[in-house]
Assembly symmetry: C2
């Protein structure tokens, strides 16, 4: 019987506690049993069935040798960082869904875990419930990974799906997403691509074995996606998806986040709503894709609990998630060549296309962002998207 503590009793934290309850029988069969001994939160939960487990004092967990695994679902890089370090130093393994913390201090925390002979696992940090990080390291271990791209953020995928399927504007779709609880009150991290950026950093770090910081991964969000872009995309047989993309070439990693036009022939174009879909290309296996709920209380809890069971059964998965300090492996993603969909405004365009607003749309040959800028120098670029497929 393993005793664990859950730090942060919000959406994911409460999902973890409930999952351990709901699936107690099978979890006991598989691991010998997992019990939540403490829930640490600054808030009170007098009406929760788990109220008796709640404490405001983390040091109770830190000093209790019975607690061997700590689940950190606080989020952010403040208290979560502090509690994670203290847990690892106290010889407790830590499991988290906190992508911001992993993307910011992952290397340091994994090193600290190793020093203390424990694990720091974070399957839930990318793709939520989608099995991704562990399969990437254990099932594709005979491959050289050439590229990863995918839908890493459910909120923006919900918004884009609404725009595409119902012809509503970005602002309207965002309002719906907020009303349904798919988006935070402050949607910036989702909408501007910061959340997807953190996940792209984690994926790139895992593949290169080097901690990739967020400043190496330029991120563009979806607030600039216009309904006109969506309509053009549909006419061309494409959808618009916010993709995190990591290309591994010549010893360099080229990673970025941006909205793309994705051909309907690509499976990822059919990943709709809040779902995530991540394509991994290996030099031997070819193309694989991992699909599932990328966020949400229970799917994220599923991945967290799976990591907890891995530690509880001494599967040495901790060694799978390991990378070293930042070093110079990042290339400039502006150099990557793809086709582009561009809309340009100008007098010549207006004459040539005969459009009232003077905007013409083009699909370019394969070129880098730098080449595109040269080609379009002097023109007023209304929108520009890389194309997949």
């Amino acid at each position: 019987m393993k005793k664990i503590a859950v730090l942060g009793f919000g959406t994911v934290g409460s999902g973890v506690v409930e999952t351990i309850d709901i699936n107690a029988d099978v979890i006991t069969q598989r691991t010998g049993g997992i019990t939540v001994k403490y829930i640490v939160d600054v808030r009170d939960f007098p009406d929760s069935p788990y109220a008796a487990l709640v404490t405001k004092d983390f040091s109770v967990v830190e000093n209790d040798p019975e607690v061997s695994i700590v689940v950190e679902t606080i989020g952010g890089i403040g208290v979560a960082y502090d509690f994670t370090k203290r847990s690892l130093k106290a010889g407790k393994s830590v499991v988290t869904s906190n992508k911001e913390l992993v993307a910011t201090y992952g290397y340091e925390l994994m090193a600290l875990a190793k020093e203390n002979g424990v694990s720091y696992l974070f399957e839930a940090s990318v793709g939520g419930g989608v099995p991704l990080l562990r399969p990437l390291k254990t099932c594709l271990n005979g491959d050289v990974i050439k590229e990863i791209y995918g839908i890493l953020n459910g909120t923006t995928n919900y918004i884009l799906t609404q725009m595409f399927q119902n012809g509503v504007s970005f602002a309207e779709a965002l309002a719906t997403a907020q009303a349904l609880g798919y988006s935070e009150a402050d949607p910036t991290a989702d909408v501007e691509g910061h959340d997807a950026c953190r996940k792209a950093c984690i994926l790139t770090s895992l593949v290169t074995g080097t901690h990739i910081t967020q400043d190496k991964v330029p991120a563009k969000g979806i607030s600039g996606v216009a309904l006109e872009d969506v309509e053009y995309a549909a006419q061309l047989g494409y959808t618009i998806k916010l993709l995190g993309r990591c290309v591994f070439e010549g010893g360099k990693a080229y990673s970025y986040v941006a909205p793309h036009l994705v051909s309907r022939n690509e499976l990822v174009s059919g990943v709709n709503g809040v779902m995530n879909g991540i394509v991994v290309k290996g030099n031997i296996v070819g193309e694989t894709m991992f699909y599932g709920a990328g966020a949400g209380k229970m799917p994220t809890a599923s991945a967290v609990v799976a990591d907890v069971t891995a530690i509880a059964t001494n599967v040495r998965a901790g060694e799978c998630f390991e990378w070293s300090a930042p070093s110079d492996v990042s290339g400039d993603p502006a150099e990557l060549k793809t086709k582009w969909f561009v809309r340009v405004r100008g007098e010549l365009e207006a004459e040539l296309a005969g459009t009232a607003d003077g905007v013409s749309a083009y699909v370019t040959a394969e070129m880098s962002e730098k080449e595109l800028q040269t080609v379009l120098s002097g023109a007023e670029v209304v929108s520009a998207y890389r194309m997949i497929g």
Copy 2:
């Protein structure tokens, strides 16, 4: 440095040897190095760059203590069975892509591996290069698995995709598949669903922890799929896919293989050509899907080599793949309720529908196969498909 032997230098076996060569650098980084010491085959390969490694005598491998891992890519349940047992008894781990052997003697071979303190791994046996079995056991370990269904056979998916996209008949599509090398000279195992059945057995065994024999998993193939069915499906917004499906309910496993009508809203309907796509539903994670090349030389080799690297790095993945002797956990899949698409011929139908051939098509309410048979008793059933989505 681990020394391995590859038994069977056919499609997959040669892919394994080539993968270890092509990716030697990264495999050495990840494992300390893997070398192929022997290739065992009854044939000669005088023109192969690996000719010097080929031997006809398995006992050379069996008696060489330097060989710690044996890759079995012979196929079938004859010599492959014998060599696998002898390898395990000699204290060597065995990795295979041989679904027939795993589906037939898996339990016995895993027990033998355990007795001898070694591993018997077979990630490649289901879904080829698609990471599936290990994620199912390690990433979804906090879930109760409720259902697995998917496209488990690339050849039949290629044929159905051809029928659907190009309007060609089953016979024509099969001929193309054979010409392209996607189907064996004798296509029975693919076309009649036996291959998918073996994979459904392995998946069901993994989830239930009990060896499921093929006689418990009724399999219907695609040779009866008519172009008329395809046309009706398209009109309804469905495709036709050969699915292996395993439903876990009330302590019973209901598994079968049959062609289904799959709604275009389901991601698996977009899995085309020789690709595989397998949906796994857990009670916590919801729906996930795993996609990739389900067969073929290099994708299958990718999964085999990943298993070899797992053993070489002492990841104790062997313990993930474990189930016990057959016992009574199988329910009758005819009891499962779904909507059905049926085409029925009769005088009344001819009058009602006004169709020249007297055939009418219906979509039923949710019912079991037994209920359907009662409803249709007396009628001439031209075709009947379960529907997904």
